[in-house]
Symmetry: C2
Subunit: 329 residues, 2 copies
Amino acid sequence: MAEDVYVGIDVGGTKVLAGVVDNRGRILRTVHRATPGRRVDVSIVEDALTEALGELVGDGVVRGVGLAAAGFVDVTGERVMFAPHLPWVDSPVRARLEERWQVPVALENDATATAHAEATYGAASGVEDAVVVTLGTGIGGGIILGRQVHRGANGMAGEFGHIQVVPGGAACECGGHGCWEQYASGNALVRFAREGLGTRPSILEELCEGNPSALTGPMVTRAAEEGDLLAHEAFGQVGDWLGVGLANLVAALDPGILVVGGGVSAAGDRLLEPARTALLSSLVGAGHRTVPPLVVARFGAQAGLVGAADLARQRVARLALQPPRGGPG
Amino acid sequence: MAEDVYVGIDVGGTKVLAGVVDNRGRILRTVHRATPGRRVDVSIVEDALTEALGELVGDGVVRGVGLAAAGFVDVTGERVMFAPHLPWVDSPVRARLEERWQVPVALENDATATAHAEATYGAASGVEDAVVVTLGTGIGGGIILGRQVHRGANGMAGEFGHIQVVPGGAACECGGHGCWEQYASGNALVRFAREGLGTRPSILEELCEGNPSALTGPMVTRAAEEGDLLAHEAFGQVGDWLGVGLANLVAALDPGILVVGGGVSAAGDRLLEPARTALLSSLVGAGHRTVPPLVVARFGAQAGLVGAADLARQRVARLALQPPRGGPG
């Protein structure tokens, strides 16, 4: 393995994606496997990460590993506090994996790692302040201020998905109602398409074999690509809510750019055009300000691992600056 | 006039409030007068500021003047771009007043100056990241990050009042609908009380002499102080919406403290208790994080002038660091 490469591992609710990343944010190779699930012992998940790492680097030397986890990571980057789809609960994951792998390990929330990747090498690089929103099953996010990710007092800044946009609206897994991620996410796309079934002819009827509850995001994407109107409308609804919510974030933060990543962002302008329209019409003082450009993230679904690898690089650099322990080296 | 004092002038839609402030944020004396209005020439407003300054300092020496204006100030702090209640439009206010007064002048948006005052000398001093919300006729605000006010790409960060909280909700002066300031502000307090008139006995009927459109914020405050249930409920509704909106800001920013200022904040716990309840029940992951304390601002209606005076102090300090123009001094 080359000298200046690091490994990033993104562990989500369904998939572990690991990759070797160079010092310009380029992914040299990746491996992936299924996430063992939430109801298993943490050791099962950590074994899976270890296997992925082994498959990726073999007998090569690893300088550092970054872990991007789909869960709440404490502000010191030591512990996973809680993860809806993973077994860790208030668990010192960073130190345990560092001990196991005998290599410097960095730990970060996956959306924060994504924002870090886009700020460092991606769509927000060179911009002072940015908002990064990742649309997957739900909404994740990160705030870039002064070219650094803003983590907040608890390390929980950027939880945009649970901003309430509709009082008493759709029920959310968080226990609340009307959260933004119920209106602008992969789940929302499927719900909007499902609600439209039967109101007009659509190839979605065929794709889901007449069973609305079998409808999936990839089906809606495929139908939209084939020109299906109902699928287009579902993307339009998601895009509209995306723009409304982004207008709220722009009113609060006034960033220089808006970056949209995550699986749903692969739809590109089908999603972003209605979002831009809604952003312009919802944003206060749009005539008296520069409205930030709304762009697709560079790294897509690989941003988490790219960001995690770079955070590992930063950790190794910091460790190199510290005086050696145990006397003069 | 003592050596190390500066003048702050807060120019709002109805009132000009000017004060002399020492280097610990203490107000030594103030003067005020009515704002001439929006439909006059800018020179009339600037004459009024000049008179207030003269009345305040007489023949004394002024080291610097800070102006906090109720309008959009550009990111360089040079121009008032637009102000709903003042005549300036894209106007180089800072340089013109500096020329006229022959003293260093700093210019800032009033809510940003308020946030600066609270971060430097007030309720948020010593806290790394804070959100400051000012409740008056509408909602203003400021974001403190790393103990500094975050201004944003256009200098327009902190426009919390126009975050949409109710799709298709109450019409707002900004042209939008359902803006937060239509639900958590002095105007909202009056509207909620007015909507309740006739549904139960209330001394508000008497106070407004049977004319609901004559109802004012001070009447609702007085009624609440006298134990009037309807007035209490109106404060409860405003407090509830305040908490819901603050939960959104905490989800996004994860600050260490929430500071509420402006005229409506004088209600104290009558407003903040329902807000704390709503914040706790609306905030995602409240069980897995430190929920930020929600406190009243220190400076109340005088925060703008205190912040402006301190920004003038900072400007003078910066100017002192620059090499003199025109050769060796």
